[in-house]
Amino acid sequence: MTKTGFILANLFHKKTRTWLTLLSVVMAFVLFGLLQSLNLVFSASPDFIGATRLVTQSRVSFTQSLPMRMVPEMDAIPGVQRVMYQQWFGAVYRENPQIFAFAVDPERLHEVYPEWVMPEEHWNAFRGTRTGMIAGRLLADQYGWKVGDKIPLQSNIFPQKNGSKDWTFDLVGIYDGKDAQWQQQTAGGMYINHAYFAEATQFGGGNAGIFVLRLEDPDMAESVAMTVDKRYENSADETKTQTEKDFQVGFLKQLGDIGLIVRWILFAVFFTLLLVVGNTMAQSVRERVPQFAVLKTLGFSDNSVLGFVLAETVALCAIGGLLGLSLATLLGAGISKAAGPMMPVAVDGRVWLSGVIAIVVLSLVVGLLPALRARRLKIVDALAGR
């Protein structure tokens, strides 16, 4: 019998108990996987955004619009390659107000966001069509939009000059992200033509919500941000400029203490798990004290007995943990499909990594005490049942 076979045979010497323990470990890791992916959503640091852009918003808050006359002024600031402006449109499509629709200048969008990939003829169509709009791939897929469709939208902020809240746009392009993470970002987004918006809207046409500044050199981020804010200090339109990454982080942080609660649950789950598995292992070793004594009599060293017990816990935690994480991956895919792109519960590589770390920690913590106990065993006492 090989060592592996011996360990597995030992593990299943009480079938019911091992199965039940295994199942509770599986459940705990299903939960661990799902919660950890949720945790990552809340504590995300969007590194993929990079540091080539700054976001300038009103100092009061980003819902306070800034005047368009600032565009050429910012274009002229040294270190700024191009400025893009965008106005939140408050789009509602079929009662879904979670569409991130912005009115932009197509040319400037193209220059400032090279991460959006779209055939050049679609960019041209967007530039050339006043009532044009472009949509992110995932958003378009969600609603089955195709290039050439007329998309009826409502704005919950801006009525048209004739008082109507209904707007219609021509879908002239669908953009992709340049990599997987940017592709994720296409889930909620769409852009419309600012020139058309400014002309047709009843009010707010001369304003933009935020400005996005593409820098010539990422190292200049801090100095450019200071120059911009300095320029508008003490004016009616004071600004606050930060890197695009900080802007996004701030956005997520607004969700506030929810991430904290998720962390508390994770802790509770793990603690409970620790106790269940730890207890089973302790019990299992207690019952097999005479067996271990026999092993030692046969000539197995103290350390190899310790190894056997430890290997059992590792096997139990690893089998259960990996099964649980796999289940979580499947469930997570199902949940994010059902909940839509706004709740990206993805049990991905990062979650698996922390899951594997958890498995190692767990098996060491619960295995070490029983293993040491088996190691310290005196043959005579154990065989005599003392």
Binding site: T16, R17, L20, T21, L23, S24, M27, A28, V30, L31, L34, L35, R59, V60, S61, T63, Q64, G90, P97, Q154, N156, I157, P159, G163, K165, E233, N234, S235, A236, D237, E238, K240, Q242, D246, V249, G250, K253, Q254, L255, G256, D257, I258, L260, I261, W264, I265, A268, V269, F271, T272, L273, L275, V276, N279, T280, A282, Q283
Partner: protein
């Protein structure tokens, strides 16, 4: 029969202290389930109560048609004046219609302990009638703002969770300084806001004479329809009229649904884990007492009392765990003040509410889990072959 049940059950329960280790698994497992369940739902409940209490059935909010929320809404002062003269609006203490134009500006404050990322907080420009429309709102420190001055009063929730919002401090907005002169408390969502004089806010934030919304007091809850019909018939206006309480309640739906789903999934998975753990423990408990049970059966005790005694033990342990879990949730989370992003894109400060019904349903879940976890081992104990069992080591 009952005497037998009592005898064996008593024997079982009294012997629990001798095998604390395994029993503790059930207790702590269930404590975990109940604590998580209670805490999550206490959060959902606290959020809902905070918003619901902010609205009254005899107040109404008038928004621009299709805007859905005060933040998106807006109209000129002339429209506001027409609205205030609508039918069905009750008279205030000054004899004029009880109605106030309010403007919403979102400002940024730093949460305590935060240095970079600011959070959105509502600044509401209000007219004198706004106070009368919210009788629950009391100044608890300092005084009200003086109309025309750049003075501001802040809600208790904001003062508690955010920096720079204490009495005497100044907030800088659009190149001007605002002094905090008082703190108010309403015990609901209003506590998440800051209030200033509407006129001063209009001029500071370049809003002309426009308002975001008009809030009115109704003669009776039924007057809502009267006002709605009259304003809809007026060709000068495109507005929607919403009952204040319905307006706030509508904002709780999504959050509550999200948290409820989260609580459901987490509780279900944890409960399954706990059931397996409980099964394990009870099987072990039965196994270690094999000879004891067999002896009892041999001297004439029936199978049912044995079965019942194992079940009772499981349920009692589960109950103890449930109580411990509910206590943990209460001690750690009850009245804990937190904030999250509300639907109007600003922070809503609310407190966890661990209520009795919540605790009771947590305990019910614990006992169901204990029942399921005890059932199979109990059946095994009852079915035991007396002769073989007596011979086991």
């Amino acid at each position: 029969m009952f005497r037998q049940i009592f005898a064996i059950t008593g024997l079982n329960l009294r012997s629990i202290p001798q095998r604390w280790g395994p029993s503790l698994v059930i207790v702590i497992g269930l404590a975990g389930v109940v604590a998580v369940f209670t805490a999550l739902l206490a959060m959902a409940q606290g959020f809902q109560a905070t918003l619901q209490d902010a609205g009254r059935t005899d107040n109404a909010i008038v928004l621009r048609g299709g805007s859905g929320a005060e933040l998106n809404s807006g109209f000129g002062g002339d429209s506001a004046d027409i609205i205030k003269l609508g039918p069905g609006i009750r008279k205030g203490s000054d004899g004029k219609p009880l109605a106030s134009g309010e403007i919403i500006v979102i400002t940024e404050l730093l949460k305590k302990g935060e240095t970079i990322n600011a959070a959105n907080v509502t600044l509401r420009g209000v007219e004198p009638a706004s106070f009368e429309l919210r009788p629950q709102l009391k100044i608890i420190e300092g005084r009200r703002f003086e109309p025309g001055l750049r003075e501001i009063i802040v809600g208790a929730g904001v003062a508690r969770l955010f920096d720079g919002a204490g009495v005497g401090e100044t907030l800088s907005m659009r190149g001007s300084d605002w002094t905090v002169v008082g703190i108010f408390e309403a015990g609901d969502a209003n506590d998440s806001e800051m209030w200033a004089d509407a006129g001063t806010a209009q001029s500071t934030f370049n809003r002309g004479n426009g308002f975001s919304a008009v809030r009115v007091g109704l003669e009776s809850p039924e007057s809502l329809e009267t006002l709605k019909a009259a304003l809809a018939a007026d060709p000068r206006l495109t507005v929607e009229v919403l009952q204040e309480q319905a307006y706030y309640s509508a904002q709780t739906g999504q959050f509550r649904a999200t948290i409820s789903v989260l609580a459901g999934v987490v509780t279900l998975i944890m409960a399954l884990g706990a059931i397996f753990a409980a099964l394990n423990t009870m099987y072990a408990a039965v196994a270690t007492r094999t000879r004891e049970i067999a002896t009892l059966r041999a001297i004439g005790f029936g199978a049912t009392p044995v079965l019942v005694s194992v079940m009772v033990e499981a349920v009692v342990l589960a109950f103890v765990g449930g109580v411990a879990g509910a206590f943990i949730a209460w001690a750690m989370f009850d009245n804990l003040s937190v904030s999250t992003l509300g639907q109007s894109f600003t922070q809503v400060v609310f407190a966890f509410q661990v209520s009795l019904p919540l605790v009771l349903s947590g305990l019910a879940i614990a006992m169901v889990i204990g029942f399921i976890g005890g059932l199979l081992p109990a059946v095994r104990a009852a079915r035991m072959q007396v002769t073989t069992a007596l011979r086991t080591q």
